[in-house]
């Protein structure tokens, strides 16, 4: 199976969980941002280039369910995924905690970037004292879910070798 076959259903599954399940399970009134997690996981698993592209797609899907300007999430997620991918390529040590820590920081930055970008576009309400709570909860929940998300995205975007094929 190729990326083209695996990625769409995985992304659709993420959208369903993001829009139907996550909003029902809130911590301190804040739900996890699973599509941001998906973008970050793509950055970690595939690098800056493909991560940004997957992040853009995930962001566009997130925008379908928001009242904020269409494309705002796409812009934010692609930038964050690109940043994560670039950062990941500079790391030599591969401890298990690095993707979690990367997700923690990137999620908080993603939420902040979304708010600031929204403010630039006239969405003043996105920048409030609540931002700190939202960024903290999203960062922690996304970090906890990151091992699963990275494995899932890696499976979805990494082409499998065909059994019996020989590399010359």
């Amino acid at each position: 199976m190729t990326t083209a076959v695996r990625l769409p259903p995985v992304l659709l599954g993420a959208v369903i969980v993001h829009t139907a399940v996550a909003p029902q399970l809130r911590l301190f009134g804040v739900s996890a941002d699973l599509l941001l997690l998906f973008a970050i996981a793509a950055g970690i698993a595939t690098g800056a280039d493909r991560g940004a592209a997957v992040g853009f797609g995930a962001g566009l899907l997130a925008d379908c369910f928001l009242q904020t300007p269409f494309g705002l999430s796409a812009l934010t997620y692609s930038l964050i995924a690109y940043g994560v991918g670039s950062f990941q390529s500079t790391i030599l040590h591969t401890g298990r905690w690095i993707p979690m820590l990367t997700t923690l920081v990137a999620s908080a930055l993603g939420v902040a970037l979304f708010s600031v970008s929204g403010l630039v576009l006239g969405e003043e309400h996105l920048l409030s004292t609540r931002l700190v709570t939202v960024a903290a909860v999203v960062a922690v929940v996304n970090a906890l879910l990151s091992p699963l998300a990275v494995r899932l995205v890696r499976w979805a975007v990494t082409p499998q070798l065909v059994p019996g094929a020989v590399m010359r």
Partner: protein, 279 residues
């Protein structure tokens, strides 16, 4: 060399994605939420509606339990506040009756339309917002049922918000507590006209443009003013004054209002079919 080429390609991809995002955002602004982008949003919302309904019904008890655990401190504070409020209300029952009488009299005197005369569509709240920044709810009634953008939404107690998005089978309502919400209001007793602005979840509404010398008392009823260009008809209860303090040196009085509708536990609401623009 190869790394440099790879980095260049990577930057090119990013610039392309940024430009595409800016183009999409511009298209959304120019189309004012309608057109192709509006259709995409509507289609996505309608396509996932059954799944979201199912998840909402199934996970509701789990969500309530989670909210109870993480919001324990808030619940204690809310309990204490409610006890104090019960005592306050018991003492002010006569004042309340007086306010009701004043409201009825004001409506009669000013010949205001009341929300009861306006045709309405009953709707069930089916979903909470996907975003962490928006105070919105989704209703199970859409344009197929006569709901349109800008229609006011009320509960049995009072104003809930207004419709900001509609698909065939669903509509999105921005609550009056949303920081982007502003409602033209009138204080029932003092007749002061002001704007009630949302301050976020579980926070009081703040009133702007209240005269610093105005006689605004706590528990005074606040109703929609229905002034020019307002999407809300006059006379709908919005809340009661919870804080009214003079602000020395300021051009307006500091007034905060507690919504009469229980916005955290909405189940059934009515959409008032007032004049509207189609989307």
């Amino acid at each position: 060399m190869a790394l440099s080429r790879r980095g260049g390609r990577s930057r090119f991809t990013l610039i392309l994605l940024i430009l595409t995002s800016i183009t999409v955002i511009t298209l959304d602004f120019r189309g004012d939420g309608a057109g192709l982008i509006g259709s995409v949003r509507d289609g996505a919302a309608d396509a996932l509606a059954p799944v979201r309904d199912f998840a909402a019904n199934t996970l509701d008890p789990v969500g309530d339990a989670l909210e109870g655990v993480t919001g324990y401190g808030d619940l204690e504070a809310e309990n204490a506040e409610l006890r104090a409020r019960i005592a306050e209300l018991e003492g002010a029952a006569l004042l309340d009756e007086g306010a009701e009488r004043e409201l009825a009299e004001a409506q009669r005197l000013l010949d205001l339309d009341v929300a009861g005369d306006i045709p309405r569509v009953a709707a069930r709240v089916v979903s909470t917002p996907v975003s962490n920044f928006e105070q919105t709810i989704e209703l199970d009634q859409g344009s197929d049922d006569g709901v349109a953008v800008d229609m006011p939404v009320v509960s049995g107690a009072g104003l809930v918000g207004r419709v900001v998005g509609v698909t065939g089978r669903r509509s999105t309502v921005r609550l009056i507590t949303d920081p982007a919400s502003a409602v033209g209001v009138r204080l029932a007793r003092s007749s002061e006209v002001a704007v009630a602005e949302g301050e976020g979840p579980e926070r009081l509404l703040s009133l702007s443009f209240v005269d610093p010398d105005a006689d605004v008392s706590v528990l005074e009823l606040v109703i929609t003013s229905g002034l020019d260009n307002s999407v809300f008809p006059p006379g709908i209860p919005v809340g009661r004054v919870a804080v009214s303090e003079p602000a020395p040196g300021q051009l307006e009085r500091s007034v905060e209002v507690r919504p009469v509708a229980d916005l955290a536990r909405l189940r059934l609401v009515s959409v008032l079919q007032t004049g509207h623009r189609s989307r």
